[in-house]
Symmetry: C2
Subunit: 397 residues, 2 copies
Amino acid sequence: MISNSMKKIVENSSAIRAMFEEGERLASIHGKENVFDFSLGNPNVAAPEMVRDAIIDILMHEDTLMVHGYMNNAGYVDVRKDIADSLNRKQGTDFTEANILMTVGAAGGLNVILKVLLNPGDEVITFAPFFGEYTNYVNNFGGVLKAVEPDLKHFQLNLESFEKMITPLTKAVIINNPNNPTGVVYSEDTIKSLADIMNRKQKEFGTSIYLISDEPYRELVYDGVEVPCLTKYYDNTIIGYSFSKSLSLPGDRIGYLVIPFSLDDYEDVFDGACAANRILGFVNAPSIIQRAAARCCDEKTDVYFYDENRKILYGALTDYGFDCVKPQGAFYLFMKSPVENEVEFCEAAKKHNLLLVRGRAFGCPGYVRLAYCVSRETVVNSLPAFKALAEEYGLIK
Amino acid sequence: MISNSMKKIVENSSAIRAMFEEGERLASIHGKENVFDFSLGNPNVAAPEMVRDAIIDILMHEDTLMVHGYMNNAGYVDVRKDIADSLNRKQGTDFTEANILMTVGAAGGLNVILKVLLNPGDEVITFAPFFGEYTNYVNNFGGVLKAVEPDLKHFQLNLESFEKMITPLTKAVIINNPNNPTGVVYSEDTIKSLADIMNRKQKEFGTSIYLISDEPYRELVYDGVEVPCLTKYYDNTIIGYSFSKSLSLPGDRIGYLVIPFSLDDYEDVFDGACAANRILGFVNAPSIIQRAAARCCDEKTDVYFYDENRKILYGALTDYGFDCVKPQGAFYLFMKSPVENEVEFCEAAKKHNLLLVRGRAFGCPGYVRLAYCVSRETVVNSLPAFKALAEEYGLIK
């Protein structure tokens, strides 16, 4: 009796749940400490203490009717101003509160902006491998997600295929920088070429093609790599951001959209986003966490912790003969399956109590994703299991 | 360049904003204390102190990774259990955590359940006057909202018209008890008759017709009136609840759905609601506030405060000759416009610095809504303005 579109999604969710339940089953047999769950992007670094202090201070000293009350659907004006100022300090931009819309995480923000932009049948392009939820977000509003085939050499953007995929129906392009699941950061050169193509196609078709940059991992970068600020390269850019990873607040559901003045139809898009935030049922981003995020938006999570996990894991896995994409950001590692069918490989890994995610969930079969936002112990203790797995596949020379 | 559906909604929102701006303009001329804004359902009673204490205690004593982390899309198991237990104590029901899904307020919950149920073209019936956002919520998923004409005598449910409106395409019925905008509570007799009709029509058409009861005002009732617990009267009932009014936490965005075992396809509906919470971008209800709401779910707001406002306002307005529906719940008063076109009457009221909302926003032209969740001062000081307005229309005898 549930809707047809939800039926399929529920079946899919059941498959994911089956995997979790399998993990729990393994833990009950072998002990939790002997099961190495790399399947979830749930940070293992605690939120900075400043977040706790900020919330308590807000509750003790700010006007309680204001702290718990409705505000503009875009969020508190002072919060939006603080965040714009912080971005301007870090990125040399000149945003104001009129460019910031507070959202229920990045997932809320992406749904809001897609609701604003998409007519049924409109096309949205993204690049494989990509975060699988994009398909659902685009489908929510009758849009069609088209994925550009992966660049299996460097996992940058396959721009040649991309250019061919753009049509007059292309309303938006989503990129995820740093990328989930590969951990790759798209370079300035790649972004410049992307912008060139999109500008050219806008002219050719006389359309507006919006670039939606999903950036929850913006601050999680290693080896001094920089994430280009996309609004500087392409006028029709909208940024989606979340504090889920940078402040370890995924459960609190807080993020924002950056909607720059340079955007075609800026005013309609911003007003539309306010209205969409309302009618999709978010109404506004959770109020206390909005105020806390504004106070803490210059705080950083412990990037060093993730970096150590990355080095240990990447070092060991390549040493064992696995073919891995070297992550420059986020907390994911993308590894080639030693056999073509990565589902088979995931099953074999499970026998060593290693829980990995299939690449096909990201539009890239033949690979697996490891989320290394786990404890150091999990990383270190998993290595013998990975070594045994490598031996099983004859990778160790 | 924004979508066609959003264009209309943005235009509509602009009209609402224009009203707010007019209020601000009036305040800048006459002083804020001389403008009587009855347009917004934003509680003027502070959240109970227990909410603040609970949040601080959670931050100081619970595991920080758990408090800020992802959990099941349905919400924390212990939170859902606490809420089920509280409902069972109050209502004599026997819900478990498997019947409770934590949501981003009632607005989030309604969107989730409509996403689960509706195929494009499905019909949803509600009763005028109704909360105007229902139209948007139903349209979000391609559904069609049909409104039963109001019962202008008692503002109960017009069941004769309702029965005729049900077709094989009717997937759901939404009622709002106590009602926004009238403040009327539907009696047990009304609910029994409603259930009878729906049961009969389910049999006739061989369909499941879900009753969605939107109950953010459940605890706000006066004169000892009781709000019937609808799951007892009709098996296919889903309840949407919010702590926005009962704990004065509208900005925090916290509520829940009750999905009873008695529901047709209970399992698919519950699993579907979890998946819908995820893919609509809510992911989960905000985590800290989930935990705080569980601790405070037996707390009550200051109903006495609203009741006093109600008595003062209802007493004075009827005294001045206005024709008002006597509110038994919520914090709204629905008043007949002395002229057929209530838009004209709202404009006349504005000249007395009284801000009212047009009945047509609730599918009931010829009436206006007053939200009396304002300060006592606003209520008392507004009376001379209402009196002058009544005199202008020749109502005072």
